[in-house]
Symmetry: C2
Subunit: 205 residues, 2 copies
DNA sequence: CACGCATGGATAGTGGCTCTATCCTAAGGC
DNA sequence: GCCTTAGGATAGAGCCACTATCCATGCGTG
Protein backbone atom coordinates (compact mmCIF):
# COMPACT_ATOMS: atom_id res chain seq x y z
CA UNK A 1 0.00 0.00 0.00
CA UNK A 2 1.06 3.61 -0.49
CA UNK A 3 1.05 6.57 1.86
CA UNK A 4 -2.51 7.59 1.29
CA UNK A 5 -3.92 4.14 1.91
CA UNK A 6 -1.74 3.76 4.99
CA UNK A 7 -3.14 7.06 6.21
CA UNK A 8 -6.75 6.02 5.70
CA UNK A 9 -6.33 2.61 7.26
CA UNK A 10 -4.54 3.95 10.31
CA UNK A 11 -6.49 7.14 10.74
CA UNK A 12 -3.25 9.13 10.85
CA UNK A 13 -2.95 12.08 8.48
CA UNK A 14 -0.34 11.84 5.71
CA UNK A 15 1.44 14.87 7.19
CA UNK A 16 1.81 13.13 10.53
CA UNK A 17 3.01 9.93 8.87
CA UNK A 18 5.67 11.94 7.08
CA UNK A 19 6.62 13.47 10.39
CA UNK A 20 6.99 10.06 12.01
CA UNK A 21 9.11 8.94 9.06
CA UNK A 22 11.36 11.97 9.53
CA UNK A 23 11.63 11.31 13.24
CA UNK A 24 12.61 7.72 12.65
CA UNK A 25 9.61 6.21 14.43
CA UNK A 26 8.36 4.65 11.23
CA UNK A 27 10.85 2.90 8.93
CA UNK A 28 10.80 4.12 5.32
CA UNK A 29 8.62 2.19 2.93
CA UNK A 30 10.19 0.04 0.27
CA UNK A 31 10.94 2.43 -2.59
CA UNK A 32 9.62 1.01 -5.84
CA UNK A 33 11.26 3.95 -7.61
CA UNK A 34 12.11 7.61 -7.00
CA UNK A 35 8.65 8.86 -6.15
CA UNK A 36 6.76 5.81 -4.92
CA UNK A 37 7.18 3.75 -1.81
CA UNK A 38 5.28 0.69 -0.73
CA UNK A 39 4.21 0.23 2.91
CA UNK A 40 3.43 -3.05 4.59
CA UNK A 41 1.20 -4.37 7.35
CA UNK A 42 4.19 -3.85 9.63
CA UNK A 43 3.95 -0.12 9.02
CA UNK A 44 0.29 -0.16 9.94
CA UNK A 45 1.07 -2.00 13.14
CA UNK A 46 3.84 0.44 13.93
CA UNK A 47 1.48 3.35 13.44
CA UNK A 48 -1.02 1.79 15.81
CA UNK A 49 1.77 1.40 18.33
CA UNK A 50 2.80 5.03 17.96
CA UNK A 51 -0.80 6.20 18.32
CA UNK A 52 -1.33 4.17 21.48
CA UNK A 53 1.93 5.28 23.06
CA UNK A 54 1.18 8.92 22.30
CA UNK A 55 -2.51 9.14 23.06
CA UNK A 56 -3.10 6.51 25.70
CA UNK A 57 0.20 6.24 27.52
CA UNK A 58 1.27 9.83 26.87
CA UNK A 59 4.87 9.19 25.85
CA UNK A 60 6.74 11.79 23.83
CA UNK A 61 8.40 11.24 20.47
CA UNK A 62 11.84 10.65 21.97
CA UNK A 63 10.59 7.96 24.33
CA UNK A 64 8.71 6.24 21.53
CA UNK A 65 11.77 6.40 19.31
CA UNK A 66 13.81 4.72 22.04
CA UNK A 67 11.37 1.84 22.26
CA UNK A 68 10.90 1.25 18.54
CA UNK A 69 14.66 1.44 17.96
CA UNK A 70 15.08 -1.38 20.44
CA UNK A 71 12.36 -3.33 18.70
CA UNK A 72 14.01 -2.79 15.31
CA UNK A 73 17.40 -3.77 16.73
CA UNK A 74 16.02 -7.10 17.85
CA UNK A 75 16.67 -6.50 21.53
CA UNK A 76 15.56 -9.46 23.72
CA UNK A 77 11.99 -9.31 24.95
CA UNK A 78 12.87 -9.11 28.63
CA UNK A 79 15.08 -6.07 28.01
CA UNK A 80 12.31 -4.56 25.95
CA UNK A 81 9.82 -5.04 28.77
CA UNK A 82 12.26 -3.47 31.19
CA UNK A 83 12.55 -0.46 28.88
CA UNK A 84 8.79 -0.22 28.62
CA UNK A 85 8.51 -0.29 32.39
CA UNK A 86 11.13 2.42 32.66
CA UNK A 87 9.32 4.91 30.46
CA UNK A 88 5.77 4.02 31.45
CA UNK A 89 6.33 4.07 35.20
CA UNK A 90 8.72 7.01 34.89
CA UNK A 91 11.71 5.28 36.42
CA UNK A 92 13.87 7.87 34.71
CA UNK A 93 17.60 7.84 34.23
CA UNK A 94 18.88 8.26 37.70
CA UNK A 95 22.48 8.44 38.68
CA UNK A 96 23.10 5.31 40.67
CA UNK A 97 23.85 6.59 44.10
CA UNK A 98 25.58 3.91 46.11
CA UNK A 99 25.48 4.64 49.83
CA UNK A 100 23.28 6.75 51.99
CA UNK A 101 20.13 6.35 53.99
CA UNK A 102 17.92 6.01 50.96
CA UNK A 103 19.97 3.11 49.60
CA UNK A 104 19.77 1.46 53.00
CA UNK A 105 16.02 1.90 53.11
CA UNK A 106 15.77 0.31 49.68
CA UNK A 107 17.93 -2.59 50.85
CA UNK A 108 15.71 -2.99 53.88
CA UNK A 109 12.57 -3.15 51.74
CA UNK A 110 14.07 -5.72 49.42
CA UNK A 111 15.24 -7.78 52.39
CA UNK A 112 12.07 -7.94 54.40
CA UNK A 113 10.00 -8.53 51.27
CA UNK A 114 12.28 -11.35 50.29
CA UNK A 115 12.73 -9.92 46.79
CA UNK A 116 15.75 -10.99 44.76
CA UNK A 117 18.27 -8.25 45.46
CA UNK A 118 19.80 -7.66 42.05
CA UNK A 119 20.39 -4.14 40.77
CA UNK A 120 17.73 -2.77 38.47
CA UNK A 121 16.21 0.42 37.12
CA UNK A 122 13.34 0.02 39.55
CA UNK A 123 15.72 -0.26 42.45
CA UNK A 124 17.69 2.81 41.45
CA UNK A 125 14.48 4.71 40.90
CA UNK A 126 13.23 3.79 44.36
CA UNK A 127 16.47 4.89 45.98
CA UNK A 128 16.51 8.13 44.04
CA UNK A 129 12.89 8.78 44.93
CA UNK A 130 13.51 8.22 48.62
CA UNK A 131 16.42 10.65 48.43
CA UNK A 132 14.16 13.17 46.77
CA UNK A 133 11.56 12.78 49.50
CA UNK A 134 14.22 13.15 52.16
CA UNK A 135 15.39 16.33 50.41
CA UNK A 136 11.82 17.65 50.50
CA UNK A 137 11.59 16.83 54.20
CA UNK A 138 8.88 14.28 53.69
CA UNK A 139 9.50 11.54 56.22
CA UNK A 140 8.94 7.97 55.05
CA UNK A 141 8.76 5.72 58.04
CA UNK A 142 9.70 2.09 57.96
CA UNK A 143 6.07 1.32 58.76
CA UNK A 144 4.89 3.13 55.63
CA UNK A 145 7.55 1.50 53.49
CA UNK A 146 6.63 -1.90 54.80
CA UNK A 147 2.91 -1.40 54.25
CA UNK A 148 3.39 0.08 50.76
CA UNK A 149 5.79 -2.64 49.64
CA UNK A 150 3.51 -5.33 51.04
CA UNK A 151 0.61 -3.86 49.10
CA UNK A 152 2.64 -3.68 45.89
CA UNK A 153 3.92 -7.22 46.43
CA UNK A 154 0.31 -8.40 46.59
CA UNK A 155 -0.56 -6.45 43.46
CA UNK A 156 2.45 -7.64 41.48
CA UNK A 157 1.43 -11.23 42.09
CA UNK A 158 -1.44 -10.89 39.63
CA UNK A 159 -1.29 -8.60 36.67
CA UNK A 160 1.57 -9.86 34.53
CA UNK A 161 -0.27 -13.14 34.21
CA UNK A 162 -2.75 -11.44 31.89
CA UNK A 163 -0.12 -10.84 29.22
CA UNK A 164 -0.67 -13.51 26.59
CA UNK A 165 2.65 -13.25 24.77
CA UNK A 166 1.72 -11.43 21.55
CA UNK A 167 2.94 -12.35 18.10
CA UNK A 168 4.95 -9.32 16.98
CA UNK A 169 7.40 -7.18 18.91
CA UNK A 170 5.36 -4.06 18.21
CA UNK A 171 2.27 -5.69 19.66
CA UNK A 172 4.26 -6.83 22.69
CA UNK A 173 5.32 -3.25 23.36
CA UNK A 174 1.81 -2.00 22.77
CA UNK A 175 0.07 -4.40 25.12
CA UNK A 176 2.78 -4.15 27.76
CA UNK A 177 2.90 -0.35 27.75
CA UNK A 178 -0.82 0.18 27.60
CA UNK A 179 -1.44 -2.52 30.21
CA UNK A 180 1.16 -1.16 32.61
CA UNK A 181 -0.06 2.38 32.21
CA UNK A 182 -3.72 1.56 32.65
CA UNK A 183 -3.10 -0.70 35.61
CA UNK A 184 -0.93 1.83 37.41
CA UNK A 185 -3.56 4.50 36.78
CA UNK A 186 -6.22 2.13 38.04
CA UNK A 187 -4.22 1.75 41.20
CA UNK A 188 -4.03 5.51 41.67
CA UNK A 189 -7.76 5.93 41.12
CA UNK A 190 -8.40 3.27 43.72
CA UNK A 191 -5.96 4.98 46.06
CA UNK A 192 -7.86 8.23 45.64
CA UNK A 193 -11.13 6.51 46.41
CA UNK A 194 -9.66 4.69 49.40
CA UNK A 195 -8.19 7.92 50.77
CA UNK A 196 -11.47 9.74 50.29
CA UNK A 197 -13.29 6.93 52.02
CA UNK A 198 -10.93 6.93 54.97
CA UNK A 199 -11.22 10.70 55.22
CA UNK A 200 -15.00 10.52 55.26
CA UNK A 201 -14.94 7.91 57.98
CA UNK A 202 -12.59 10.02 60.03
CA UNK A 203 -14.56 13.23 59.78
CA UNK A 204 -18.14 12.09 59.53
CA UNK A 205 -18.39 8.86 61.33
CA UNK B 1 9.53 44.32 49.98
CA UNK B 2 9.59 45.16 46.29
CA UNK B 3 9.79 43.02 43.22
CA UNK B 4 13.53 42.66 43.13
CA UNK B 5 13.82 41.58 46.73
CA UNK B 6 10.91 39.16 46.31
CA UNK B 7 12.74 37.73 43.33
CA UNK B 8 15.98 37.25 45.23
CA UNK B 9 14.35 35.76 48.28
CA UNK B 10 12.27 33.34 46.28
CA UNK B 11 14.82 32.51 43.62
CA UNK B 12 12.25 33.29 40.91
CA UNK B 13 13.29 35.75 38.21
CA UNK B 14 11.46 39.09 38.08
CA UNK B 15 10.22 38.21 34.59
CA UNK B 16 8.60 35.04 35.88
CA UNK B 17 7.08 36.84 38.84
CA UNK B 18 5.53 39.33 36.44
CA UNK B 19 4.23 36.43 34.41
CA UNK B 20 2.60 34.86 37.47
CA UNK B 21 1.07 38.22 38.32
CA UNK B 22 -0.38 38.46 34.81
CA UNK B 23 -1.70 34.92 35.03
CA UNK B 24 -3.40 35.63 38.33
CA UNK B 25 -1.39 33.10 40.34
CA UNK B 26 0.14 35.81 42.44
CA UNK B 27 -2.09 38.62 43.76
CA UNK B 28 -0.84 42.14 42.93
CA UNK B 29 1.30 43.83 45.54
CA UNK B 30 -0.07 46.74 47.51
CA UNK B 31 0.53 49.76 45.31
CA UNK B 32 2.23 52.50 47.30
CA UNK B 33 1.92 54.73 44.25
CA UNK B 34 1.80 54.55 40.48
CA UNK B 35 5.11 52.82 39.96
CA UNK B 36 5.84 51.02 43.23
CA UNK B 37 4.20 48.06 44.85
CA UNK B 38 4.94 46.41 48.12
CA UNK B 39 4.96 42.62 48.47
CA UNK B 40 4.43 40.69 51.67
CA UNK B 41 5.49 37.40 53.21
CA UNK B 42 2.29 35.99 51.77
CA UNK B 43 3.61 36.67 48.29
CA UNK B 44 6.79 34.80 49.12
CA UNK B 45 4.81 31.87 50.41
CA UNK B 46 2.65 31.89 47.31
CA UNK B 47 5.73 31.85 45.10
CA UNK B 48 7.09 28.85 46.99
CA UNK B 49 3.76 27.14 46.46
CA UNK B 50 3.83 27.89 42.74
CA UNK B 51 7.41 26.63 42.45
CA UNK B 52 6.61 23.38 44.22
CA UNK B 53 3.47 22.74 42.22
CA UNK B 54 5.30 23.39 38.93
CA UNK B 55 8.62 21.70 39.54
CA UNK B 56 7.84 18.93 41.99
CA UNK B 57 4.24 18.02 41.26
CA UNK B 58 4.34 19.04 37.60
CA UNK B 59 1.05 20.93 37.46
CA UNK B 60 0.44 23.43 34.69
CA UNK B 61 -0.43 27.08 35.13
CA UNK B 62 -4.16 26.52 34.75
CA UNK B 63 -4.26 23.84 37.43
CA UNK B 64 -2.26 26.00 39.81
CA UNK B 65 -4.56 28.93 39.12
CA UNK B 66 -7.54 26.78 39.99
CA UNK B 67 -6.06 25.84 43.34
CA UNK B 68 -4.87 29.29 44.38
CA UNK B 69 -8.18 30.84 43.35
CA UNK B 70 -9.90 28.47 45.72
CA UNK B 71 -7.44 29.39 48.44
CA UNK B 72 -8.04 33.11 47.85
CA UNK B 73 -11.79 32.59 47.83
CA UNK B 74 -11.63 31.02 51.27
CA UNK B 75 -12.98 27.66 50.18
CA UNK B 76 -13.24 25.18 53.09
CA UNK B 77 -10.16 23.07 53.67
CA UNK B 78 -11.83 19.77 52.92
CA UNK B 79 -12.97 21.04 49.53
CA UNK B 80 -9.47 22.34 48.93
CA UNK B 81 -7.97 18.96 49.72
CA UNK B 82 -10.43 17.30 47.38
CA UNK B 83 -9.37 19.71 44.62
CA UNK B 84 -5.72 18.98 45.32
CA UNK B 85 -6.39 15.28 45.08
CA UNK B 86 -8.21 15.78 41.80
CA UNK B 87 -5.34 17.50 40.05
CA UNK B 88 -2.47 15.61 41.69
CA UNK B 89 -3.90 12.15 41.11
CA UNK B 90 -5.30 13.17 37.73
CA UNK B 91 -8.90 12.42 38.54
CA UNK B 92 -9.86 14.71 35.69
CA UNK B 93 -13.24 16.16 34.86
CA UNK B 94 -15.15 13.14 33.76
CA UNK B 95 -18.71 13.14 32.60
CA UNK B 96 -20.58 11.29 35.30
CA UNK B 97 -21.76 8.21 33.57
CA UNK B 98 -24.55 6.58 35.54
CA UNK B 99 -25.14 2.93 34.66
CA UNK B 100 -23.12 0.43 32.79
CA UNK B 101 -20.75 -2.34 33.72
CA UNK B 102 -18.03 -0.01 34.88
CA UNK B 103 -20.36 1.73 37.32
CA UNK B 104 -21.43 -1.64 38.63
CA UNK B 105 -17.83 -2.71 39.10
CA UNK B 106 -17.19 0.49 41.03
CA UNK B 107 -20.23 -0.18 43.19
CA UNK B 108 -19.00 -3.68 43.83
CA UNK B 109 -15.59 -2.44 44.94
CA UNK B 110 -17.11 0.10 47.29
CA UNK B 111 -19.44 -2.54 48.69
CA UNK B 112 -17.01 -5.32 49.43
CA UNK B 113 -14.46 -2.84 50.79
CA UNK B 114 -17.08 -1.38 53.07
CA UNK B 115 -16.30 2.15 51.91
CA UNK B 116 -18.92 4.86 52.43
CA UNK B 117 -20.74 4.93 49.11
CA UNK B 118 -21.18 8.63 48.49
CA UNK B 119 -20.50 10.12 45.06
CA UNK B 120 -17.11 11.70 44.63
CA UNK B 121 -14.53 12.72 42.05
CA UNK B 122 -12.55 9.63 42.89
CA UNK B 123 -15.53 7.43 42.30
CA UNK B 124 -16.35 9.01 38.95
CA UNK B 125 -12.72 8.78 37.95
CA UNK B 126 -12.62 5.09 38.80
CA UNK B 127 -15.76 4.39 36.80
CA UNK B 128 -14.48 6.39 33.85
CA UNK B 129 -11.15 4.62 34.02
CA UNK B 130 -12.77 1.20 34.05
CA UNK B 131 -14.80 2.22 31.03
CA UNK B 132 -11.64 3.32 29.29
CA UNK B 133 -9.98 -0.01 30.03
CA UNK B 134 -13.00 -1.88 28.76
CA UNK B 135 -12.85 0.22 25.59
CA UNK B 136 -9.20 -0.73 25.16
CA UNK B 137 -10.09 -4.38 25.63
CA UNK B 138 -8.08 -4.69 28.81
CA UNK B 139 -10.01 -7.05 31.04
CA UNK B 140 -10.12 -6.19 34.74
CA UNK B 141 -11.27 -9.21 36.67
CA UNK B 142 -13.06 -9.01 39.96
CA UNK B 143 -10.05 -10.75 41.50
CA UNK B 144 -7.72 -7.98 40.35
CA UNK B 145 -10.11 -5.27 41.47
CA UNK B 146 -10.45 -6.90 44.85
CA UNK B 147 -6.71 -7.32 45.34
CA UNK B 148 -5.94 -3.78 44.14
CA UNK B 149 -8.60 -2.17 46.29
CA UNK B 150 -7.52 -4.20 49.30
CA UNK B 151 -3.95 -3.03 48.79
CA UNK B 152 -5.03 0.60 48.44
CA UNK B 153 -7.27 0.29 51.48
CA UNK B 154 -4.25 -0.83 53.49
CA UNK B 155 -2.16 2.01 52.12
CA UNK B 156 -4.81 4.67 52.74
CA UNK B 157 -4.92 3.72 56.39
CA UNK B 158 -1.56 5.35 57.01
CA UNK B 159 -0.39 8.33 55.06
CA UNK B 160 -2.87 11.10 55.78
CA UNK B 161 -1.94 10.83 59.44
CA UNK B 162 1.40 12.49 58.66
CA UNK B 163 -0.27 15.78 57.71
CA UNK B 164 0.21 18.09 60.68
CA UNK B 165 -2.39 20.72 59.81
CA UNK B 166 -0.26 23.64 58.57
CA UNK B 167 -0.81 27.26 59.49
CA UNK B 168 -1.62 28.94 56.17
CA UNK B 169 -3.84 27.79 53.34
CA UNK B 170 -0.95 28.02 50.87
CA UNK B 171 1.17 25.75 53.04
CA UNK B 172 -1.73 23.33 53.39
CA UNK B 173 -1.98 23.06 49.62
CA UNK B 174 1.78 22.74 49.30
CA UNK B 175 2.22 19.96 51.81
CA UNK B 176 -0.89 18.14 50.65
CA UNK B 177 -0.03 18.30 46.95
CA UNK B 178 3.64 17.48 47.35
CA UNK B 179 2.89 14.73 49.84
CA UNK B 180 0.22 13.15 47.68
CA UNK B 181 2.36 13.30 44.59
CA UNK B 182 5.48 11.90 46.21
CA UNK B 183 3.59 9.14 47.96
CA UNK B 184 1.79 8.07 44.82
CA UNK B 185 5.07 8.07 42.92
CA UNK B 186 6.66 6.08 45.73
CA UNK B 187 3.91 3.54 45.32
CA UNK B 188 4.61 3.27 41.58
CA UNK B 189 8.35 2.86 42.14
CA UNK B 190 7.62 0.08 44.61
CA UNK B 191 5.22 -1.47 42.14
CA UNK B 192 7.93 -1.47 39.50
CA UNK B 193 10.36 -3.12 41.87
CA UNK B 194 7.79 -5.65 42.98
CA UNK B 195 6.92 -6.51 39.38
CA UNK B 196 10.58 -6.83 38.45
CA UNK B 197 11.15 -9.07 41.45
CA UNK B 198 8.22 -11.30 40.59
CA UNK B 199 9.39 -11.48 36.99
CA UNK B 200 12.88 -12.52 38.07
CA UNK B 201 11.49 -15.21 40.34
CA UNK B 202 9.36 -16.52 37.53
CA UNK B 203 12.11 -16.67 34.92
CA UNK B 204 15.23 -17.35 36.92
CA UNK B 205 14.11 -19.18 40.02
C1' DC C 1 16.41 70.82 42.24
C1' DA C 2 17.59 67.84 38.52
C1' DC C 3 19.28 63.70 36.76
C1' DG C 4 19.83 58.76 36.53
C1' DC C 5 18.23 54.48 37.23
C1' DA C 6 15.16 50.97 39.13
C1' DT C 7 10.18 49.78 38.99
C1' DG C 8 5.89 48.42 37.16
C1' DG C 9 3.24 47.51 33.19
C1' DA C 10 2.57 46.21 28.49
C1' DT C 11 4.00 43.77 24.49
C1' DA C 12 6.63 40.98 21.79
C1' DG C 13 9.90 37.25 21.25
C1' DT C 14 12.05 32.47 22.46
C1' DG C 15 12.52 27.62 22.57
C1' DG C 16 10.67 23.18 22.81
C1' DC C 17 7.21 20.06 21.15
C1' DT C 18 4.01 18.03 17.86
C1' DC C 19 2.22 18.42 14.28
C1' DT C 20 0.35 20.74 9.59
C1' DA C 21 0.52 23.26 5.25
C1' DT C 22 2.93 24.62 1.14
C1' DC C 23 5.83 23.92 -2.66
C1' DC C 24 8.22 21.38 -6.01
C1' DT C 25 9.64 17.58 -8.82
C1' DA C 26 8.92 13.36 -10.90
C1' DA C 27 6.39 9.87 -12.61
C1' DG C 28 2.00 6.71 -13.61
C1' DG C 29 -2.35 6.44 -15.74
C1' DC C 30 -5.75 7.63 -18.96
C1' DG D 1 1.20 13.78 -23.78
C1' DC D 2 -1.22 15.97 -20.18
C1' DC D 3 -3.02 15.87 -15.51
C1' DT D 4 -3.25 14.08 -11.14
C1' DT D 5 -0.88 12.53 -7.20
C1' DA D 6 3.06 10.57 -4.34
C1' DG D 7 7.01 11.71 -2.02
C1' DG D 8 10.41 14.77 -0.12
C1' DA D 9 11.93 19.10 1.79
C1' DT D 10 10.99 23.19 4.16
C1' DA D 11 8.50 26.39 6.49
C1' DG D 12 4.70 27.61 9.48
C1' DA D 13 1.18 26.96 13.23
C1' DG D 14 -0.36 26.55 17.86
C1' DC D 15 0.41 25.71 22.53
C1' DC D 16 3.03 26.32 26.75
C1' DA D 17 5.98 28.56 30.06
C1' DC D 18 8.64 31.64 30.25
C1' DT D 19 12.03 35.75 29.00
C1' DA D 20 13.50 39.98 26.97
C1' DT D 21 12.56 44.64 25.43
C1' DC D 22 10.52 49.01 25.72
C1' DC D 23 8.59 52.90 27.90
C1' DA D 24 6.80 56.23 31.17
C1' DT D 25 7.11 57.29 35.97
C1' DG D 26 8.96 59.13 39.97
C1' DC D 27 12.21 58.07 44.13
C1' DG D 28 16.66 58.80 45.77
C1' DT D 29 21.14 60.78 45.40
C1' DG D 30 24.01 64.25 44.83
Amino acid sequence: MQLNELSQRSGVTPASIKYYLREGLLPPGEAVHATRAEYSAGHLERLELIQALRQVVGLNIGQIRGLVKMADDGVPRLDLLAAVQRVVLDLGNYTTSVGGEAAEATDAVVRFRGWPDSASDARNALTAHLELMAGLKIPVSETVLEAYSKAMDDVAGLDIAATTAPESTDRLILTAAVGMHMHSQLLLKLLALAQASHAIRRYHG
